[in-house]
């Protein structure tokens, strides 16, 4: 059965309606910043996270064996180690090279220099790093990976990138800009819908216990229980509010009237997670993805068309 021409036109117009590239600039700069902070914060433990030498938290070969079970093509740090050892470099040297190139890729993304190459390098190195340290990875790595995957495929460079300014490259296709922004928007809708729906199935999110436990669970207990207990009456409404905010995100993030409320609510939630649980990088990546997907067109600049 063929879709009707009218339906096809609507789908086509929705995906390829055209938009400015400001969302891509926000995604590029945000992800670049995220990578720089990832490198800085993991620097002290970098060797211990990836070395094969006994004395690491969990040796790289064990983690990679677990991750690549049934997924042998997944990139990993061992590939770089093997290549480097072939030309006589030590494991530690190669690990620092990987760290340095990842940092450089992050800085290039922030500045907008060699955008496409930097995005590909960042995606590949970051993916390799998080797969080789999968037993020490959490949501932030997964979401950074998602963002880098879309960034790498999107029509770079955006007009704010130094690449565009120095080389005077013409703007990329507005149709493709809107297509990739739509993909990111729909992905966020799936993320929040399933996250909210799964929470709604647990009794703990209805009676406030899950929120309490999340905030008192080591090592995320940044605020003492003595302080938290003063807000005990807020746990039920806040817990339910989180579930409803997330589950209804795919509905209320689209209309202009409710978009600002849902966006501010979601970013405030991630801000609170960052401050109260110490998950600063997680808060940053979620803010970056949300702002790039839905936030940037709330700030109309230069009268450019927005979606």
């Amino acid at each position: 059965m063929k879709p009707s021409p009218r339906l096809w036109q609507q789908v086509h117009a929705w995906f390829f309606g055209g938009t400015s590239d400001r969302w891509l600039a926000a995604l590029r700069i945000g992800l670049g910043l995220q990578l720089v902070l990832y490198c800085i914060t993991s620097r002290a433990d970098w060797l211990q996270m990836f070395t094969l030498h006994p004395g690491s938290f969990v040796t790289r070969d064990l983690t990679e064996a677990l991750v690549t079970l049934g997924a042998a093509l997944v990139p990993r740090v061992s590939w770089f180690i093997s290549a480097g050892e072939f030309i006589g470099l030590s494991e530690a040297t190669i690990l620092w090279v990987v760290w340095s190139v990842l940092l450089a890729a992050g800085l290039c993304l922030v500045a907008g220099i060699f955008c496409r190459s930097a995005a590909i390098a960042a995606w590949f190195l970051h993916l390799s790093a998080i797969k080789s340290s999968a037993l020490l990875s959490y949501g932030v790595d997964n979401f950074t990976s998602i963002g880098l995957f879309y960034l790498m495929l999107s029509p770079l460079p955006d007009h704010l990138a130094l690449d565009s300014r120095w080389r005077k490259w013409p703007p990329k296709s507005a149709q493709l800009q809107s297509f990739w922004q739509r993909v990111l928007q729909l992905h966020l809708c799936v993320i929040y819908f399933f996250s909210g729906l799964t929470k709604l199935l647990g009794s703990g999110w209805w009676n406030g216990e899950s929120l309490w436990r999340a905030l008192t669970r080591p090592p995320f207990d940044m605020v003492s229980s003595e302080v938290l207990i003063h807000g005990k009456y807020l746990f039920i409404p806040l817990g339910l509010g989180i579930c409803l905010l997330e589950t209804s995100y795919p509905i209320f993030i689209w209309p202009r009237r409710t978009r600002l409320i849902w966006l501010v609510g979601i970013i405030a939630m991630h801000g609170a997670i960052a401050v109260l649980m110490g998950l600063y990088l997680f808060g940053l990546i979620m803010a970056v993805l949300n702002i790039a997907a839905f936030g940037i067109d709330l700030f109309r600049l230069h009268g450019k068309k927005v979606i």
Binding site: D45, V74, K131, K199, L201, P219
Partner: protein, 201 residues
């Protein structure tokens, strides 16, 4: 127009995989009985979860090219896992304590140490994995690695006992009653290391 159609087909495949993975993890939560839905429905959720395994090629032999390709794509796009963070309920946290015994009989206690608070936020993933893993030799191997990383800083220790347990924090009502967090031991292993093993570089 043709390139746009190709983009849309690519998106449809990508979105299908994304939703299938998210559904797989959602059905897994329902099937393992951790939600408040009736237990009688659990076999049905298991069937649905099973169907997503089939769709994602996870029932094919490990070296099957189709399975490898799908798995690679899922990892590359960052969509290999669902989005049930802290759901349906927030799990217990786990703690690992090392008891170091010295030749003169004295004992010391150590926790796994990391260089930055950010890495500290990553340790729960490892501890959750140890707790969820039921394969005893793997659990023991990981704990031995962690014990060895501690021994690197205490090379005079004769023996290290790794005690792994769940930290059960009190509920809101329990906290108001004055309950304290309790520590329930899950497993404990003794490890001995000799100084002939090379120090960390």
């Amino acid at each position: 127009m043709r390139f746009q159609r190709a983009y849309l087909i690519g998106f449809a495949l990508h979105f299908f995989l994304l939703v299938t993975v998210a559904s797989r993890d959602f059905f897994a939560v329902l099937a393992d009985g951790s939600s408040y839905l009736p237990a009688a429905l659990e076999p049905h959720w298991r069937v649905l979860e099973d169907a997503t395994f089939t769709v994602l090629g996870q029932k094919l032999p490990p070296n099957n090219p189709m399975r490898e390709t799908i798995a690679f794509y899922l990892h590359a796009a960052g969509i290999e896992a669902g989005y049930g963070y802290f759901a349906p309920n927030v799990p217990y946290s786990y703690k690992l304590v090392f008891q170091l015994t010295y030749p003169n009989g004295t004992t010391e206690y150590e926790l796994p140490t990391v260089g930055t608070p950010e890495t500290g936020m990553r340790l729960p993933t490892l501890l959750d994995f140890i707790a969820a893993n039921r394969y005893e030799p793997l659990r023991q191997l990981i704990l031995k690695m962690l014990a060895y990383s501690v021994w690197q800083h205490h090379r005079d220790a004769l023996k290290i006992r790794a005690v792994f347990g769940a930290v059960i924090t009190p509920s809101i009502a329990g906290y108001k009653r004055g309950d304290e967090p309790t520590y329930a031991v899950v497993c404990a292993y003794d490890f001995g290391f000799t100084k002939t093993e090379p120090p960390r570089p």
